[in-house]
Structure formats: C-alpha cells, structure tokens
C-alpha cells in the first residue's frame, strides 16, 4: 500500500478551501456531521420521553420506539459510515445482512406459531 507519510505538524498559513478542493471534500462536511449529531441527540431525548408520553398505548409505543431507533441507526449508517455516497458493494453487504436477519425473524415467527 502506498503509505505516504506527512509531517505530524502542518505548516502555518493553510488554505482551507484549497485543502478541501485537494481532498475532494465538500467544505460543509463538518457542518453536516454536527447537524446529524444534534438530530441524533434530540431524537434520543424524544425517545426517552416516549414511554411517558405514550404510556398505556401498547403497540403504538413499541412502534414509535422502533421507528425512532431505526431512523437514528439509518442516519449513522448513511452519513457517518458514508453508505449513501460510497460504493454500492457496501450497501449490498448491508442489504444482504438485513435480509438474512429478516429471513431468520420470519423462521422464528413461524416456529413460534407452530408450537
């Protein structure tokens, strides 16, 4: 592997825009990461309050909690793990894994019904 090493300390007088261009990176990546982080934190606050807000609603509470968890997980996978912008090979691996999980879930459910 081409392991080009750079000095541990950058020289003064950097050109952030130029660096961003050289790195092929959109300049707003940091803002995006921070925004996602804020959304995740707020979603966690809401999630913790849901059992109090939807107390006694049974399935509705369960569905709301699951949807919130899935949305949070999706944000991390799509944006922090860059699945949205990266090769579809990786997305294929994720889809295959989730398909296998769903397959075993169905088997488990059918097994429970058969008992």
């Amino acid at each position: 592997m081409n392991d080009a090493r750079e000095p541990a300390l950058r020289p003064a007088g950097r050109d952030p825009a130029g660096e961003a261009a050289a790195a092929g990176q959109a300049p707003s990546a940091v803002r995006g990461y921070l925004l996602i982080g804020v959304v995740l934190a707020l979603a966690t606050v809401v999630e913790v309050q849901l059992p109090h807000l939807l107390a006694g609603t049974g399935s509705l509470l369960t569905a709301a909690l699951l949807v919130t968890a899935v949305c949070k997980a999706a944000l991390v996978v799509l944006f922090y793990m860059h699945l949205k912008s990266d090769s579809r090979v990786y997305a294929g691996i994720v889809v295959l894994s989730l398909f296998l999980v769903a397959f075993f879930f169905v088997l488990l459910t059918l097994g429970q019904l058969a008992l």
Partner: protein
C-alpha cells in the same frame, strides 16, 4: 507492488470488486456482526414473547437506570461525531485536529464503559445478576430477562472495549505521523467499526431499556 489510488486515503488493488480490499473486509465483518447481534436480540424477543413471567415494563423501569443509560447513549453518539470529525480532519491534512478528535473519542468511549461498569455494579448489588432478578421489584419474574440483558449489553461492551484497544493503536500511529491527506485508511476503517458499535447500541438501548 504498485497500487492505483482512486479515492483519497484508500489504495485499490487490481481485483474484480473495484473497491479497496481492507474496506470490503471490514464491511463484510460488520455484516457478520449484524447477524451476531441480531441473533442475540431475536433470541431475547422470542424468549420474551413465549415467557409466562417476563417482567412488565414498569418493573424494568424501576430496576434499570434509564436516565443514566440515556446519558451513555448520548456519549456514544457524540463519540461517533468526533470520529467523523477526525476523518474529516485527516482528509484535510489537519494532524492536530485528527489527534484531538481521536483522543476525544477515546475519552468518550472510556467514559461509556465506565458508566456501564458502574451500572452493572449497581444492578448486581440490587439483585439483578445474570441468573436472577431482584425479588423486591421483580418477584416471580423470569430470570431469563436478566440473562438476556447481560448477554446483549455485555457483548456490546466487549465490542466497545475492543474498539478502544484498536483506537489506541490508531492514535499511536497518528502521533507518529502515519496518516495524512493521501493515506488515512486506518482512520476510516476504525471509524466504520466505531459507528457500527454506536448503531448496535442505538438499537440495543431501545430494545433492552425502553420497550
């Protein structure tokens, strides 16, 4: 051996998939981890649905410290942010920021484990052990609740610990100047694993503590 660098930080070896081999390997590993944690969670669900004496939600709320665990969830989310910012920093050639954000991730991850260890200490003292439930709050409840709780959260904790050990290696290499604008695959691959650990906890927190 020569390599063709198609994207910053990741050398692509000539092979059929067209993606960096190490990154592909990490994603395949994460795929297997999805199956591993799903097995734990689905087993817990199955046991819960078939049990005649699974503790009620109110009983669980009295035993588990939801606010403390919510704080822990927040810490892990913030650590995902710092890992993402670390990768952004190295992609821009900002070494100091890379090291700062990696150290922040280490601190947050260590705090997460510390809080989890403290939680285990409290729960154990309360009577919730891997084979028993506290009789005061969960009299007659299925002890499998405790077993599955410790199995899920314990395995996740071990994954966090493993991640922190790898992070120490990454920090060591970063301090040695191993990563730069054109060579930061190690940071990216660690980031993938750490974000996955966060994703697992997001789901686990909901299933084990809130539902």
């Amino acid at each position: 051996m020569t390599h063709v660098t198609a994207t910053a930080g990741a050398a692509i070896n000539p092979h059929s998939t067209g993606v960096p081999s190490r990154k592909l390997a990490v994603w395949l590993f994460l795929g297997s981890e999805v199956l591993f944690f799903s097995a734990l969670m689905l087993t817990t669900m199955a046991l819960r649905l078939t049990s005649q004496s699974w503790p009620a939600h109110e009983q669980v709320q009295r035993v588990l410290n939801i606010p403390l665990t919510a704080l822990n969830t927040f810490l892990l989310i913030v650590s995902s942010v710092t890992v993402a910012l670390a990768l952004d920093a190295v992609q821009r050639g900002r070494q100091r920021r890379l090291i700062v954000f990696l150290l922040a991730t280490l601190a947050l991850g260590t705090t997460f484990l510390g809080i989890q260890a403290y939680e285990y200490h409290l729960l154990w003292g309360h009577g919730l052990t891997p084979t028993a439930v506290p009789q005061a709050e969960m009299a007659g409840a299925d002890p499998l609740f405790a077993s599955t709780f410790y199995a899920m959260t314990g395995f996740h904790g071990l994954h966090v610990l493993g991640g922190l050990l790898v992070l120490l290696l990454v920090i060591g290499r970063a301090l040695g100047g191993a990563y730069g604008r054109g060579s930061h695959e190690g940071v990216e691959l660690f980031g993938l694993y750490w974000h996955f650990v966060d994703v697992v906890w997001i789901v686990l927190f909901t299933l084990a503590y809130l539902i």
